[in-house]
Symmetry: C2
Subunit: 340 residues, 2 copies
């Protein structure tokens, strides 16, 4: 039972379920929630053998519910992305304690034996965040109030989510009314709301994007997580529909300076940054003629400090807007650029 | 029960069901089939009061089946797009005679009382052409053999389907091995195969397009029906994914010279033809670096002969490729341009 209208809205705070996981790479969702939404995580629960430890209070589902938790979030990815049978005991205990279950795994929660029945009895929701709401509207193209910055990129998986999260955090730190807007599963768990746009029916991509960043106060800023790339041979349709529906005032162009080709697609070279900028601005201006480039986000995680600094300076000279790495740069100059 | 893999394939020839329709506008599907696929239509069947007459032999479903028909195609659109209850008798008679039912209406055929059971008994299929196959692959981006021409446009609903149909017919008339490839419901019925790309999950748009125009002989040409427009605030994602997956060698840019704005979207002006050409070429070259503009299709249906001719000549001077109206121009020059 997902929300039936517009974007999903999750019930916070969370109890993080870490299973019997021992490999931190399989716990990326949990670490992401800890890094970006710890104020909404009131505890962790593990199964025997589990060694992942976020340092949160250890709680059984009933204890977490008593302490105010409203959802158990599956924070680890089991082998094959399927929910193991032996997890059903703790998941059923959670819904019996009144907690929603929130999952980004491929197995639908309703397929866990007994879980749907237990949820029906307690009124808890089973929320598969990959699954979009049922009755999304088509886009209207009507301008919405408030301001929006869209993350766009030269490829998938180069930091668009982190750029949006870091900018939202930096802007709020300056007292600016700003929200991260999620368009993928991990982002939705962090934000507590959103739509997995890549799972939407094609006719409704831009309509979903309109729901993700709704009308807001004139001084409010949405930082919209991007998906894919206009230069990607498989996923560009998602990228373009999301950009159109976002009606972006500002674009942040996200890039990895060490990447030369679409990741896993060696026959597809990445565009130059000026080519990417020009195309994204042209497309953004279809739904918002005032769209402008406000910054460039570089993923320099594989570079030493000196190389990273050199890359940031080079890009800044080339494009004439602040360049930053969302995980290592100060963000005051790009925030100033956003605010115009 | 739609096909479970890749594009839908319909069973021909057809018996056209015209219901009790009296309004030719509500029989557009039937007329489209008559105009473009009459060799696959062996009869028509009507209900009392119906006045639409294609001049085909009048046949009850059992007679049509005996004469070789393999599907009954619903060729009219009832009010609200829903299948009226009183149609169920003839639809059930058709599946009992072994005919598949092919529908482009919103009501799923399985919702017609008794129809699914009758189909299960006879082995007939209920094919909702709006519904894509269940297990589409993601795009691979791998170059396919054979040649492809994609119809792209400045807007929706300005003749992209007719351009592809007319070009396929003209090329076959010259002995060229060519196929119309359908991406929308009426086109699928005409071609007897295809996928409604706007109904596909967003992540699979380009993958669906790859299935629609599969590997073919080196001298084979696919004429791919286009959808939407890169300049459309709601549907551009479909357009771009379809273009990328089509790996077009040639583009035909489709336009209506009298249209100044996106139809039904008065706040969205249409692009100039050179702007549209440049954007579509840039995007087509992501998956096929050799893509080139081969022609411009103008919908001049609302213009007199002299104005139409003037518009065609003006566009031809502006873009330097043959301009044609698929329903009133000779097509030899554009076919020559396609063949390079």
């Amino acid at each position: 039972m997902t929300a039936s209208l517009d974007r999903l809205v999750l019930n916070m705070p969370y109890l993080l379920f870490l299973g019997e996981e021992t490999n931190p790479i399989k716990a990326k969702t949990a670490y992401g929630l800890y890094d970006w939404s710890v104020e909404n995580c009131i505890g962790q629960t593990r199964l025997p053998g589990g060694t992942i430890d976020l340092g949160l209070a250890e709680m059984a589902p009933a204890e977490a519910a008593a302490a105010g938790a409203r959802s158990l979030v599956i924070g680890v990815t089991p082998v094959g992305g399927r929910i193991p049978e032996h997890w059903s005991r703790v998941l059923i205990a959670a819904v019996e304690a009144g907690l929603d279950i929130v999952s980004g795994l491929h197995t639908p929660l309703e397929s866990v034996p007994g879980l749907a029945q237990a949820a029906a009895r307690s009124g808890a929701r089973l929320v598969d965040v990959r699954r979009p709401p049922d009755n999304l509207p088509r886009a209207t193209g009507k301008r919405r109030s408030g301001k929006r910055v869209a993350m766009v990129g030269t490829d998938c998986a180069l930091g668009k989510k982190y750029a949006a999260l870091a900018l939202a955090r930096a802007m709020r730190g300056q007292g600016i009314d700003a929200d991260f807007r999620a368009t993928g599963q991990t982002g939705i768990m962090i934000a507590g709301a959103g739509i997995a746009v890549d799972a939407v029916i094609a006719d409704f991509i831009a309509g979903a994007a309109e729901c993700i960043s709704p009308d807001a106060d004139p001084d409010h800023w949405d930082l919209v997580e991007g998906q894919g790339s206009m230069f990607h041979p498989a996923y560009a349709g998602v990228t373009l529909g999301l950009l159109h529906g976002s009606q972006a005032d500002g674009l942040v162009l996200c890039h990895d300076p060490l990447r030369t080709h679409v990741v896993s697609w060696p026959d597809y070279p990445l565009p130059s940054l000026p080519v990417a900028r020009d195309l994204y601005l042209q497309m953004a201006r279809i739904t918002n003629p005032a769209a402008r480039l406000v910054g460039v986000s570089l993923n320099t995680s594989a570079m030493d400090e000196a190389s990273a600094q050199e890359a940031l300076e080079r890009v800044e000279r080339e494009l004439g807007v602040p360049a930053f790495d969302p995980l290592r740069s100060p963000l005051d100059r790009v925030v100033a650029s956003i605010m115009g």
